[in-house]
């Protein structure tokens, strides 16, 4: 934003943008199916506000002011298009958009949930769903999203525009699916939750909080999760996902020490965990449990809860963690859950049993480039005293790691192999929550993104 714009105006505009961007886009796009058009109109409305508000003062209801300005802009654009291609469809859209002009300005209907369902529609490629949601609900620009998802900015820009064109041209509906059609409803809701969790996982990677924008990404995902949980309070998985993210986020300050070094979950100081956030996560989880419909996010939240037990008892509830991973593996068949189950088994039944479980997963070619698999393997081998094989596995894990702090941690583990008496160091790579969600590397990857 421009320097010539005075500070109160800019602050007011930024506050509205933060609070209501998605709501305004959702309102405009739901009535036109034109997400890109809605974004253009709203950005022009913001520009108009920055020009007008210093003179006229910030309006009593800035959202309504912006909505009116954006709506007029969209109607103008639609009229021009109508005269050009002369379709009747635009007349209908125009009427819908114009409807409500002069309504109570306070009552802007909240179509954000419908917009989220449109962004995660089966017609939209899975790898674009989370980025699309970040852009249209939160107003992130393509370059920021591209950085977070490790994609070239130009590629991300193209993917986003293609997705928006698809929504418009294919007539992807802006509505919350019918909830009594059980199967469709759950598939669609899963897609929304998955996109939110993918966003959280991208934010989680930057544990040091060195990248300010990306740390916000984890918080924005929690915000989206809260929104969905608030709009669908009867959905246990929506509550489960929010609980899971809050549990993980409660430990954000404990994941690095004062020198910026990586601190594995088992060595974190529970005093640094955010107790209020954990309490909130626990409350959500017990609320979800009342509906007796267990799902993957509730299971994962329960696993985090069992890790959190260490706060009071000094030890994580490993038997419970093992059981919960058993259930998660049975439910999802995810080899990532399988790795984490093996880590739990190392605590309950020893490293040999855990290693046998990992060996059972080794046939999956995607694991060859999956860092947590090699780190877990290395830790187990070290604990069994097989220094040479452990060293090779640590080296493999280092080579696949993107985070310098974790890479350094793995190096220290390797060096400790030489000095430690058997049984060597414990398994120390157990930071499960979002790593489960890390997209898969290798040939079957849909997004081409690799795991860290």
């Amino acid at each position: 934003m421009d320097d010539v714009v005075d500070a109160p105006t800019r602050q007011a505009a930024e506050a509205v943008a933060r609070r209501s961007y998605g709501k305004l886009i959702a309102f405009l796009a739901a009535r036109t199916r034109d997400v890109a058009g809605a974004e253009d109109a709203l950005s022009e409305a913001f520009a108009a506000a920055l020009a007008a508000w210093p003179e006229s003062g910030v309006p009593r209801n800035p959202e309504a002011w912006l909505l009116t300005a954006a709506r007029r802009k969209m109607i103008d654009t639609a009229r021009q298009r109508h005269t050009r291609d002369g379709t009747a469809e635009h007349l209908v859209l125009l009427a819908e958009l114009a409807e409500g002009d002069g309504d109570d300005p306070e009552a802007i209907p909240d179509d954000r949930l419908a917009l989220m369902f449109a962004c995660t529609h089966p017609g939209i490629a899975p790898e674009v769903r989370a980025p699309l949601m970040l852009q249209v609900i939160l107003g992130f620009d393509a370059a920021t999203i591209a950085s977070a998802f490790l994609v070239a900015p130009s590629t991300m820009g193209q993917r986003l525009s293609r997705a928006k064109a698809k929504i418009r041209d294919a007539g992807i509906p802006f509505r919350v699916p019918v909830q009594h059609e059980w199967h469709e409803w759950h598939e669609r809701l899963d897609a929304v939750l998955e996109a939110i969790y993918a966003t959280y996982a991208e934010g989680w990677v930057d544990a040091g909080g060195t990248d300010l924008r990306r740390r916000n990404l984890a918080e924005e995902a929690i915000w989206l999760g809260s929104l969905v949980a608030a709009l669908l309070p009867q959905e246990p998985e929506a509550l489960g996902l929010l609980s899971l993210m809050l549990h993980a986020h409660a430990r954000r300050n404990a994941r690095r020490n004062a020198q910026g070094r990586y601190v594995p979950l088992a060595e974190q100081d529970p005093a640094l965990w955010d107790v209020a956030m954990i309490d909130q996560a626990e409350a959500l989880l017990s609320c979800a449990a009342r509906s007796h419909a267990v799902g993957r996010y509730q299971l994962e939240a329960a696993i985090q809860s069992a890790h959190g037990v260490r706060r009071r008892s000094g030890r994580a509830d490993w038997p419970a963690i093992e059981q919960l991973y058993d259930a998660l593996v049975a439910m999802t068949g995810s080899p990532v859950a399988g790795i984490n189950r093996a880590i739990a088994v190392a605590e309950t039944r020893g490293p040999a049993a855990a290693l046998a479980l990992l060996d059972g997963l080794a046939g999956d070619p995607r694991l060859a480039q999956y860092q947590p698999y090699w780190a877990a393997r290395a830790g187990l081998l070290a604990r069994m005293g097989d220094r040479h094989t452990a060293d090779q596995a640590y080296e493999r894990a280092m080579g696949l790691e993107t985070d310098a702090a974790v890479r350094e941690f793995l190096l220290q583990q390797r060096l400790a192999l030489v000095t430690a008496d058997p049984p060597g160091p414990m398994v120390r790579y157990d930071e499960p929550p979002p790593s489960q969600e890390r997209p898969w590397p290798g040939p079957t990857s849909t997004s081409g993104k690799t795991a860290t």
């Binding site: 490790l150 994609v151 070239a152 590629t155 060859a368 480039q369 080296e395 493999r396 894990a397 280092m398 080579g399 696949l400 790691e401 993107t402 985070d403 310098a404 890479r407 190096l411 390797r414 590397p441 040939p443 997004s447 081409g448 993104k449 690799t450 860290t452």
Partner: protein, 116 residues
Amino acid sequence: MQYMLLIYTDEAATPAPKPGEAVTISPAYVAYTQALHEAKVWRAGDRLQPISTATTVRMVNGRSEVLNGPYAETREQLGGYYLIDVPDLDAALSWAARCPAASRGHVEVRPLWTMS
């Protein structure tokens, strides 16, 4: 598709061994190179000697001009490269992110022109 990962780092921050001195490769680079090999994407890669060893040549009006030093004096200098063969840019970027230099300097990813 082949991509060149061009590694730019600040030489002053990581002093290179003097010419003649034994070259040691950091465990991070050894591990990274090994991971590229294991994934069967490695085609080539080497570290370059420090910019103090660079000589730059150009022809001006048919006459040669030879200068001591690198082409451009910038804080971060080209210090090495990897050539990898991966399906697409997304995959190349994910390997670039794993390169130890990505945490300290910059890794530029460029596709090769493929002559056919």
